[in-house]
């Protein structure tokens, strides 16, 4: 295809889906003007205001109405602007969208995509910077996706729109302008991780913007002879245990990294599952690195305290390797 930005890739995915399938509609605030990040630019001109639907500031009804549309066979793509505002539609997401199929004994489906950009938005502070992906992973019924590259934003948004389950689709606010190649025919399945960088000594599992920080840390580690494998999880639920397990079985070491608050973050689930299932393969304690459990503050020196950095990832990687012990299975 072409080199495009993360925003352009998402726009192209939605455009292709809308051309293919007349049941696909997009619903949200300010979409006609292109969306907050330009990710809808030109789409209302192409598809009309009846398919790129500008809404009032009514998050609960944006999601609730989309659930209603989905139950009768439409395929709505809902825009929440940022994950923080989706909290205004918590009932419609969690009690309605996620559960309708199950509660009604499988009579209905909710083929809904809810776009909720996550991540620290520099200078926007506590109510515009949250990464709440773990909340949705916790709710049965949702597929949860967090792409890190333009190619994956194209392929995974396409897959999310094709998916018959409700998908919480979390782009990152500070990736919109990043660009990369989106090869023709590039495909990515929901639930499949991507090895962003192969390595032998340590596995880092991460997603979204933190993938780029982990790659930076892996580059630095390589300079002192430490070979780090970086897995971009891409889909958080269902998560690709096979790829993660195969990597950890080889490296014997796992570090999970995410921008979200570390406590009760999705890293805890991965760390616990690996500890449960691969104990005999581990040569070092599993580690996590996430943000401290503080709201994201405004002032730059304070905001920095809420960020994870490539330096911190590198330090955690080194500590994990330094904590190497004998393989437990070998000790027996």
């Amino acid at each position: 295809m072409a080199v495009m930005t993360y925003a352009e890739a998402a726009r192209q995915a939605l455009r292709d889906a809308m051309r293919r399938d007349p049941r696909v509609v997009a619903i949200g605030e300010d979409l006609g003007r292109g969306g907050v990040f330009g990710q809808y630019k030109g789409l209302q001109q192409e598809f009309g205001a009846h398919r790129i639907i500008d809404t009032p500031i009514s998050e609960a009804t944006i999601v609730g109405a989309a659930v209603g549309m989905a139950l009768v066979g439409h395929r709505p793509v809902v825009e929440m602007r940022i994950a923080d505002f989706a909290l205004c539609a918590a009932d419609e997401l969690v009690n309605q969208g996620a559960k309708a199929r199950y509660m009604f004994g499988g009579q209905g489906r909710v083929p809904l995509v809810v776009r909720q950009p996550i991540g620290i938005w520099t200078g926007f502070a506590a109510q515009h910077s949250q990464s709440l992906e773990a909340w949705y992973v916790h709710v049965p019924g949702f597929v949860v996706v967090a792409p890190s590259t333009p190619a994956d934003n194209y392929a995974l948004l396409s897959a999310a729109i094709r998916c018959d389950d409700p998908v919480i689709y979390m782009e990152h606010k500070e990736l919109w302008a990043t660009s990369g190649d989106v090869p023709d025919g590039y495909d990515a399945a929901l639930g499949k991780a991507r090895i962003a960088r192969p390595g032998n000594d340590l596995t880092i599992v991460t997603w979204s913007k933190a993938v780029h920080l982990a790659l930076e840390a892996a580059d630095a580690a390589a300079r002192d002879g430490l070979s780090v494998e970086v897995i971009d999880l891409r889909t958080l639920w269902p998560w690709d245990r096979e790829t993660v397990f195969a990597s950890v079985a080889r490296t014997g070491r796992l570090l999970v990294v995410h921008e979200a608050v570390q406590a009760a973050g999705f890293g805890a689930e991965i760390a616990a599952t690996v500890a449960e299932c691969l104990d005999g393969e581990l040569v070092a304690p599993v580690r996590r690195l996430g943000a401290p459990r503080i709201p994201v503050p405004y002032a730059p020196p304070l905001e920095d305290a809420a960020r994870i950095t490539a330096e911190q990832i590198l330090a955690a990687a080194r500590q994990t390797v330094a904590a190497t012990r004998r393989r437990r299975s070998a000790a027996e």
């Binding site: 520099t122 200078g123 996430g290 401290p292 503050p297 405004y298 002032a299």
Partner: protein
Amino acid sequence: MERTLITTSGASGRNDAHVARLLELYRTMARIRAFEEAAEAAVGAGLVKGVVHLSTGQEAVAAGVCLNLTRTDLITSTHRGHGHTLAKGADPRSMMCELFGRASGICGGKGGSMHIADFGIGMLGANGVVAAGIPIAVGAAHAMKLSGEDRIVVCFFGDGAINRGPFLEGLNWAKAYGLPVLFVCEDNQYSATTCTAQVSAGAGPLARARAIGLDGLEVDGNDVVAVDRAAGELIRRVRAGEGPMLLHARTYRIKGHTSSDPGAYRSPDELAAQIARDPLQRAARMLVELGVQPDAIQAIERAAKDEIDAAYAAAAAAPWPEAMHAFSDVQDVGAGQWR
């Protein structure tokens, strides 16, 4: 009821009082205008991070409403909250320090423009979430009623906010419990880049309020005298225990939605027509008609600008907060346990 205060004929004592009040309103508007211009410049200079939502052109609403409040009355505000905060009596220097993210900011640099608050003067917070201030104002008013205090609450929100559930829920609650709150819908016609009328049904906020039993008034929100008078009347009734009221102030946002929005979706004609309704210019003309010398008006503007320039300089020179401050005020129980 005779409420035409502008006529000067034969009532010079009343006229003096009117002129003094209009001068006070003008001074507040000039301070807000100067603050917004400085904030915009600071964003341009990279001194303020993120964006600011400017209330340039909407000054008359903040000034006209807040002049009817006492220091201990309470307000809630929105993402576009600098004007309300200043008009309620906050110190522009600590406000500017907050925008600059400095330790001496009102919120210690934690909040920034969108989360400015000054509890010391009854300002319970701007808000990053549209309509979120409405239930908070209702709760504060409910507390006033429970504790038998005579303080009232003013709840500012935009025209876009009336399409969120908390608007209906909050108005109903306030009416059902007979709470001392004035809802002020500051209608600048836009919900971010969308024309609110295009996504709104019915006759607007006052009709919705009336449907659930609130009384109210609609006012030209760029006429500071009219806002002062209408707010004064409604606040008098709220104080008298008549329950919640709603003021619908029609105004206009001269700048874009945020400091990074050029507002290109508005036609030059639309903008020009609205700039001609600039509330400061209109108030200045009224003052001149009332016999105030242009020099005196300019002196107010200069004083406002000097005050804000000093705030800007102080903020630019103020120290940053220590990084460890990011970890204070999260919660009491469990403090220190960050991961």
